[in-house]
Symmetry: C2
Subunit: 225 residues, 2 copies
DNA sequence: TAAAATTAATTAAACGTTTGTTTAGTTTTA
DNA sequence: TAAAACTAAACAAACGTTTAATTAATTTTA
């Protein structure tokens, strides 16, 4: 009767990317949207089912529970979220500071394109509980930090970067600035009289704004100018 | 029977600081703690009542509803949250950049001393709904920004500051960096092997770290060095 | 290949809890 | 002795989840 569920946990344990059916994807999309808007407790499974246009029971049937659905959202959305530093490190034709610039653009892009999911991540980090989801975030952050550390050290070897750089603090500023912009974008929009802009145009605007702003900050933080 | 409640909404409309009884303060403190930990929907009124060591009915009795309790938390905690820029502006014996430094320290201090409440504010901003609480945040931000604008303009007149400064973006970085540090302080702590530190010592550490970091950033952003 | 058997997908309804709030009564205070 | 403070119990609504039944799809059998 419930063989599908059993198949699932098996595949999940293997850490193989799970192939979801149309309905399952619809549920994950709806969950992402409503978790981002209302938070985990604020979004009911009935809300999610309606948004996904499926029967409520399908959520338990496919994912086991609301909690597990959240985990599925995370596993689905974190698959391609890693920063593309690995390839960057090899490339000898790009200067260290240019690599940092590319990384900033990459991060800003990822954040803007996955606003809903990043909102969920922010909320989950606030809760500060030892859930599977919290572990996933921790792991993700640590890996990203590790890669950036080697990238910075490369610049330090060539003498282009300063010796004493607090990378964690630097990342805190990057992540924090972008998060804060996302969180308060309506405030930012009304303050700059940009209500007339359509969403796409506005997002292109803040993308550019954040990109140049962070590049300026980072340049002065890490280079010997 | 419910004259107390009626007295309340009256006082609230007058924008006069409300004097709460011991029990009411206990409820507000408990609500702040649990709203910060679990979010508005995650914290039940029974949780809050237990934490405050009062009967569940007292919450409705004193505050009318859970929603209104949240508003009470906000009105109580935002009374003294405004940055002390007003007094700063008058003082002629302090240079503009020193004023900015004082402002940064003031903000970092307020944030660290009211971590729980700031967590609630962050969550509420994410929801992005036109609630009384959202309006309160908006108003607060606008006033702070207004004061800072005049402070910056003062520095620009004397020629100490650059001409083109994006104040909103600057504030986004300050608020964002501090918020992100608060949100991920456990991550920061484990990364820097500071688990042995007691909480007070650790908070003094990040207070100092944030302060010098933000001052460096701001100096290079706004002065002609 | 057609029929039968089996499994998977889907549904409406019901489950037992928990939710925020109210009631009706009691105790305390002034 | 009237108003305020406080309580245990009850309230209906909403919650996440399960059940039992039905339809759809797939596999096995003859």
């Amino acid at each position: 009767m419930f063989s599908f569920k059993r198949l699932f946990s098996f595949v999940s344990e293997m850490k193989t990317p799970i192939e979801y059916s149309e309905k399952q994807i619809a549920i994950i999309n709806a969950a992402e949207k409503l978790f981002a808007e209302k938070g985990f407790d604020g979004a009911s499974v009935r809300d999610i089912a309606q948004e996904a246009d499926v029967n409520v029971a399908m959520i338990s049937y496919y994912f086991g529970s609301k909690e597990k659905l959240m985990e599925a959202v995370f596993e689905e959305r974190t698959v391609n979220i890693k920063l593309k530093v690995e390839n960057l490190l090899q490339d000898k034709s790009i200067t260290p500071i240019q690599k940092v610039y590319i990384l900033i653009d990459d991060y800003v892009d990822k954040f803007i394109h996955q606003q809903q999911f990043h909102k969920i991540m922010m909320r989950e980090q606030m809760i500060n509980k030892h859930t599977p989801v919290a572990a996933l975030i921790h792991e993700l952050k640590k890996k990203n930090l590790e890669s950036i550390k080697t990238l910075i050290q490369e610049g330090q070897k060539t003498g282009a970067f300063k010796k004493n750089i607090d990378i964690v603090l630097m990342m805190t500023t990057m992540v924090g600035t972008v998060s804060q912009m996302l969180t308060s974008q309506h405030f930012y929009r009304s303050l700059n009289n940009m209500e007339h802009m359509d969403d796409m145009e506005f997002q292109r605007h803040i993308r550019k704004k954040l990109s140049t702003h962070l590049k300026n900050l980072f340049k002065q933080m890490i280079t010997n100018e």
